[in-house]
Amino acid sequence: MRHEQSEPVLTSVERRYGSSEHSKELQRRGAVGRGARGMRMAGQKLDVGVLKRAVAYLFRYKARCALAVVCMLVNAGVSVVAARFIGTLIDDYIAPMAAGAVDVPVLLSYILRLAAVFAVGVAAMFINSRSFAKVTQGILRDIRNDMFAHMETLPVRYFDSNTFGDIMSHYTNDTDTLRQLISQTIPNMFSAAVSMTATLVTMLLTSVWLTLFVIVFIVLMTMVTTRIGGASGRYFVAQQRKLGALNGFIEEMINGQKVVKVFNHEEKAMEEFDEANESLFGAARKANAFGALMGPIMNNMGHLQYVLIAVLGAMFVSLGLQNLTITGIAALTLGNVVAFLQLSRNFTQTVNNIAQQMSAIVMAMAGAKRVFDLMDEAPEVNEGAVTLVNSTEEDGVIRESEARTGTWAWKVRIGGETVYIPLKGDVRMSHVDFGYVPEKEVLHDITLYAEPGQKVAFVGATGAGKTTITNLINRFYDIQNGDITYDGIPVRDIRKEDLRRSLGMVLQDVNLFSGTIRENIRYGKLEATDEEVEAAAKLANAHDFITRLPEGYDTVIDGSGSSLSQGQRQLISIARAAIADPPVMILDEATSSIDTRTEAIVQRGMDSLMEGRTVFVIAHRLSTVRNADVIMVLEHGTIIERGTHDQLIAAKGKYYRLYTGAFELE
């Protein structure tokens, strides 16, 4: 059972896919099956803080938990009776019956009494399972809800810096291990602990020496199982690594299967696959074998213990050794030994049971820790006090209004006084520096202003910082240096909800939500009437294609919107922004995957959306920025040119060269 210490030889697939983030993500997502749990187990320690928080969730259901404890105790009591009943039957009934001291009716009444006790036990068990279902599922629901609610408060940074698969696994794998912990492991541990204590006391009552022997034996057994467990853990890690590598290979190669065909690469692909598959088999076989060894070895060591105690006990008796019990010294009888045998067997089984649960606990703890880590992530800072209110204006005086007036004002408190500033859509940035991480500044000294109704365009290569600028205006990220103001108010002072309500966004990755098209458009304004929805769709040029769909506005789409074309999805997202009707719009238009004719339609939608608003537009096709009031050319986070189209063309600089196609944009 020596494990291989030397670093195993890597196959070409493992070399390329072994350590990639991607295969880790696959594992997290659970694509590799149950083995993943074994992997996380390695090196984890029991974390008391995590356990406490998990138990706190249990405490939300105090009454049911108390009921469960009662039921379990009743059940444990009944099983003690059940375990002892043969002895009682023989000693108190069969023997006396044989001697003629007891009659059949007496035996019958004993059996009936027992039946009553057992019935109570079964009833307790039933009540417990039924009532506890609400606890486990309730806790799961609570945890999911808490997790999701908290996730919604997290800053965009969290979503940008954690992989999608990682975040998802909180809701799938981690919650699942937690479910096992709460619904199975904790109750099992509890009842195991109860019965273990009971058995131990009874054993001590019978014989201290024999009990000591049992304990020594169990320590021995634990040592053996730890060894096997360790080896199987190591092989599991190896298996997971190889499985991850193979899955990474599969994912990439199947995605590129058409390329494989075009290049006649099938033979080579099979060769590589076979090699990696064989290597996985080697590791998986060992991991599974060691995992399965535990059962028979534990079981039969239990048998050995039984024999040893029987022989030892019998020798005790025949040699007439003094027997020590916790109540004093008494003679050990053969009857005592027989009883002890049964007790020790139960005891060992319970210990084994707990040992096996331990690994489950450690794994569940790891899952729970990840869940709580998510809940501990710091939410977005939202210290702004300026709010957006409906307003009316009479004789130049702006007043707050309860009703929806269609006009808005910022409500600012200065000193003790409340001032109303009308919402116009004037955005300014001065000397803004920003980096996603402090060490690496990606925007340097950005200064720009957009007066109400103006159109500002950003042009530049991928990575020049175009999208980053728009992330700052709505405070998805906060700037390190400089100022950003909205209608003269620093954006930091505006309550985030209100700031974002005053800014519309159309992003290049169109994200729609599962539901009908109507619901998706209404997302921009939840109280919108059907007429408003249609008006917005018309504005976005989406009405035509929607009405041509079989179900019209009630067509159900899924999140990826696979039933719609890229252009159609973009049109819906434009309608969604249009219905919200904000004074400032940020358009990150992605039209590279749309052909020029479809683009023209999307463009018309975009154009009508821009009318009468302050607009920041990130242009991928230069045709769309021609009529901008000002065009900013960005390079490496700095504005290198600014001006109108004609000015920039005349300047014959970078913009001119971009425009004439001498540079790659993407």
Binding site: Y17, S20, A31, V32, R34, I86, L89, I90, I94, M97, A98, V104, L107, I111, F118, G121, M125, F126, S129, A133, Q137, L140, R141, R144, N145, F148, T153, F159, F164, G248, I250, E251, I254, N255, G256, V262, E278, L280, F281, A284, A289, A292, I297, N300, H303, V307, A310, A314, T462, R500, Y523, G524, S592, I594, T596, T598, L622, S623, Y659, T660
Partner: protein, 588 residues
Amino acid sequence: MIRTLLKSLREYGKSAVLTMLVMTGEVLMETLIPYTMAQLIDQGFAEGNLPFIVKTGLVLVLYALVSMAFGSLGSLLGARAGTGFAKNLRGDMYHRIQAFSFANIDRFSTSSIITRLTTDVTNVQNAFTMSIRMAVRTPMTLIFSIVMTTFISWKFAVVTALAVPVLITAFVILGRKVFPIFMRVFKKYDRLNADVQENVRGIRVVKSFVRETYEEDKFRKTSGEIYSDFVTAERIMAWLNPVMMGTSYIMMLAIAFIGAYLIVGKDATTVSIMGETVTTGLLNSALSYTMQILMSCMGLSMVVIMIIMSRESMRRICEILKEEPAIRNPEDPVMEVADGSITFKDVNFRYSESAERNSLEDVDLEIPSGATVGIIGSTGSSKTTLVQLIPRLYDVSEGQVSVGHVDVRAYDLKTLRDAVSMVLQKNLLFAGTIRENLRWGNEHATDEEIREACRLAACDEFIANMPDGYDTFIEQGGSNVSGGQRQRLCIARALLKKPKVLILDDSTSAVDTATDARIRKSFREVIPETTKLIIAQRIASVREADMIIVMDNGRVIDVGDHDALMGRCAVYREVYDSQVKGGDGDAA
């Protein structure tokens, strides 16, 4: 279905059978052990016979060791059989997939193929390993225990025999009730996950519309539904354990009563009624056999559940294994492609037999060897479909496509595809160095040939600027090179085949116009004898072509050079105008 899967067992079949045999041995030992223990107690302890105790003890130790040996051997064999089976299944599927044509791949979709190769195999492996261990073990335990019980007293056997159908009926009833609920819950689970996914991916939308609370409410609703469904299901399942325990208690009591009756004959420890002898020890072991019978019933139901749960996975794997490749090598194939001329004759094409309309209709084309051909048309006009017929990625529905004056269906597939090199619209690089990626085109390409291809595709410069040059590692999906660079690398890879026909399916869309022009120029100069088909969005990319094919809605509506088309083709002019007016970099 299961037979199809088991064909993949091959060399591990022996291990699987041995596992079952060894398990039988283990079960035999496990059945003997309680009986021997009973003897130890009955005869050893009742009479205080130490030598007998030691002797029986030794026998027991032997049994335990044999049982341990069998058990361990079973673990090793079972692991070998299970993981080996999984290996073969994966391998067989993968090999099968390599024979798939594009039509087969489309039918399954890549993501579903990946699931089948990963998750589904794992599921089947688990079910299989469990089955070979349990499928023999539990029925054997059941049989042996019943035999032993009968051996002790047939009356006990009758009691247990009565309990088994009761339990099985209970399992079936509960299963039937709960199964549909679980199916429903799993669907809702998917919805919950979809909710989370949409929120994680679309967090910017959620936040910019300030819809956090709205999303939370939506999520709460779904998680609430899952809660109530699960509670309903678990409340039904709550019957399971009590039924089990209840039955076992009843059995215990019945056996005890009968036992007591039997034992109480002439003396306290043994009795003989109707030729049956029962002792207290035997009574004890009868009870433990009862428990074993119950446990094996449980085990059996577990196996059934496992198999049912993996049934869907099994079905999905079978689908792959049974899928017939839509395109096969012809018998007696043509092994050489004469030149790069291409002919389409009365070609109709639909992606599937059931498709309502043809994706290509009535296509007739004559392309001379060495020509440069541009293909223009809006999204969905079947440009890609047209060129995919040339390397026989799909077969025509009607008509004929020829390369080098021979029907493509007559060629050896490898020969044809080596002669017709295609850069797909969805161009992909694979994890590995640039050199490794390029060698896909020609495994034995020399460094000089690689450099030459890169010069042609205008990627020599940026490769030279990379830290490790041609040994630069490309991440999965080619994420560490830009879109334009990736496209150029894919072109170089295709060039390394030294093809007679080169097809570029919108392969320079992210390449700047100047470089694009440079690539076209070197094509003209360096590989004039290669037929070049270029699908493009930009008029500039096809403007100088010898002939331009204009496609609309699955039909070729016009063929001619730029000037001719400008004169007579409205669609072509429309595209041209939209780009020139739109200033797509081409106005100047």
